[in-house]
């Protein structure tokens, strides 16, 4: 009797603590929405329930931020970075794990080093590399370094996947006399689909939200990533809280939507990643 009562109290307390954490997490979004719905040009105070929500602010912000242009720009960058990144990472991991290239372990350790390097530490040489190549202010100057910088994680991730493939499958493919390419195409890629999907989601998200590389390589905000454009939008309309909040919410909406749709995949991927260990 006593135990149930105390555990019921525990449950209630637990719910309250968890609820507080959720409120804390949602607070910034609620704050922006509240500001975005105040009359245009006004100076809002704190979080208020708008008496007369000014949804029109979103239309103004949509036009001011040139949303379609910069979404397209981000999408182009994603298309430049993600496929190349996936191919390079998958091929390298396949060579190291399945084909067991000589000194593949050494190659892997060298790649692993890149996982801990902060981008800021490389940004200066990368800028001069692109400047010397005459590529500054082109999308290539953003895309090429990103492919390279994301590569260590990609190889790391795909290597973990290939190591999880039962040895029998790898050997059967060899015994059949199937060539490396055929084994990769017909046996390993179909098996790698879940791992590749996760990597695709992560690479796309990272590119979409990439800030410092876009900021340094590209002067034109509309040709940057969404995050880079958002930074410029803040610089331009920083004092107009209503417009800034509406614009920032609009700019973040696509990632939030994609997350809402694919949240199960996100969660499953994370769980898988940990459970395998």
């Amino acid at each position: 009797m006593n135990a149930t009562r105390s555990s019921r109290r525990e449950l209630l307390l637990g719910r309250i603590v968890l609820l507080m954490l959720v409120v804390f997490t949602l607070l910034p979004f609620v704050g922006m929405l509240s500001a975005a719905l105040q009359p245009a040009g006004s100076n809002p105070t704190g979080i208020q329930v708008p008496t007369n929500p000014a949804w029109g602010n979103f239309i103004t912000a949509f036009e001011m931020s040139k949303l379609p242009t910069l979404m397209t720009s981000s999408l182009i960058l994603v298309l430049m970075v993600v496929p190349v990144g996936l191919v390079l990472a998958t091929a390298a991991a396949y060579g190291i794990v399945v084909l067991r290239v000589p000194f593949g372990g050494v190659a892997f350790v060298v790649l692993l080093l890149g996982l801990t390097i902060p981008f800021e530490s490389l940004i200066v040489p990368l800028y001069h590399l692109m400047k010397d190549a005459g590529l500054l202010n082109t999308r290539l100057a953003i895309a090429m370094p990103l492919v390279a910088l994301y590569l260590p994680f990609g190889v790391f991730w795909m290597r973990a996947h290939f190591q999880g493939v039962p040895k029998e499958i790898t050997e059967a493919a060899e015994m059949d006399g199937a060539g490396w390419w055929r084994a990769l195409w017909h046996v390993h890629l179909p098996l790698a689909r879940p791992a590749l999907t996760t990597l695709l989601v992560l690479y796309s998200l990272w590119t979409w939200n990439q800030f410092i590389i876009a900021l340094v390589m590209m002067d034109e905000p509309l040709m940057r990533t969404v995050a880079g454009a958002l930074g410029a939008f803040q610089g331009q309309y920083g004092t107009d809280i209503v417009l800034l909040s509406a614009g920032a919410l609009l700019i973040m909406l696509p990632t939030i939507t994609v997350f809402a749709i694919f949240q199960k995949q996100f969660v499953v991927a994370l769980l898988q990643g940990s459970v395998k260990g």
Binding site: L21, G46, L88, V101, P118, L151, P152, F156
Partner: protein
């Protein structure tokens, strides 16, 4: 969203890697594959070598010169490194990076542990939904988070509104313009970003703990607190290491949040190495000093993260 990249990196990677290590050793005795198979590895290694390794080497090289990025570079030996450890602005930036560890690592892991334990205990649809909501900050650009929090912290923002509502109006202030509170205010944004990731990882770890251990603890008469320290905490040791690795990197290599919220101000009180590097190189044309700071930052991250990896590998 530079640092978030790294964040999710560690989170996603750690698990399979641990399993992989064991498998590799089992395969150890097998014959090597042919050299021709390098055709698969070479493209990746070439791209990595050209961009990442070359930049790494150049960073080190630049750090020994005084160079404005255009004209002639002059060899200055270790002068840039002496500056990193003596110039108040550089030293403050490094010290701030360490102070942020409290918010980015300690607070978010502690809250993540609490949340994951509660979610496990409640085990309802609602508690799992809250786990997803907590993860939301991970998918929005950090710049967006910075803009949102700047508004919350402003003199008319929600934080002051709340303080006035509970009768603490006299402590209300423009938080990001305050020399004492601007850095903690930024730190809390880091906590906000990382709680969800830690919760998710630790929850995953807790599902792997053998339920018999909890039963045994209950039979021994352990309350929830003792159960937590005797069963849960040791059970998620590996996940804790991952959380620590990821959050440490996020704390030290912070750029987006500080750049958006304060640019290092007021008066350099929130300066961090990332923003310092950016301003040195691109506003002050001091490429050598920026590179020295970059190298020091890189070494710091390695020095903190590598020992953690060793601990993880020694896990029984």
């Amino acid at each position: 969203m530079t640092k978030l990249d790294q964040v999710v990196v560690g989170a996603q990677g750690s698990g399979p890697a641990a399993g992989g290590g064991r498998r590799t050793s089992r395969r150890g005795g097998q014959r090597r594959g042919p050299w021709a198979a390098w055709i698969f590895v070479l493209p990746a290694l070439a791209v990595y070598g050209f961009f990442t390794l070359q930049s790494l080497a150049k960073s080190v090289q630049y750090s020994f010169y005084s160079w404005n990025g255009i004209g002639e570079a002059t060899w200055v030996g270790l002068a840039n490194y002496v500056e990193v450890f003596s110039d108040p602005r550089r030293v403050t930036a490094l010290a701030n990076a360490f102070k942020l560890i409290f918010f980015y690592s300690f607070l978010s892991i502690a809250l993540g542990l609490i949340a994951a334990t509660l979610i496990r205990g409640l085990n309802s649809r609602w508690s799992r939904a809250s786990q997803t909501l907590l993860f939301l900050p991970q998918v929005v650009p950090l710049v967006g988070a910075g803009i949102a929090w700047t508004w919350l912290y402003s003199s008319d923002g929600a934080v002051n509104q709340f303080l006035r509502a509970i009768g603490l109006g006299e402590v209300a202030r423009a938080w990001l313009a305050d020399f004492t509170f601007a850095l903690p205010a930024i730190g809390i944004v880091g906590t906000w970003v990382l709680i969800g990731l830690c919760t998710m990882l630790l929850s995953a770890g807790m599902t792997k703990i053998d339920p018999a251990l909890y039963d045994a603890a209950r039979v021994d008469g352990a309350g929830p607190i003792r159960e937590f320290f005797a069963v849960t905490l040791p059970g998620v040791r590996g996940e804790l290491t991952v959380c620590l690795t990821v959050t440490l990197i996020a704390a030290l290599a912070n750029f987006d949040v500080v750049y958006t919220m304060t640019l290092g101000g007021p008066g350099g009180s929130t300066m961090v190495p990332g923003v310092d590097i950016y301003q040195l190189a691109f506003n002050q044309a001091r490429v050598g000093a920026a590179s020295a700071m970059g190298v020091v930052l890189m070494v710091l991250v390695l020095a903190l993260v590598l020992p953690l990896q060793r601990i993880m590998r020694e896990r029984p």
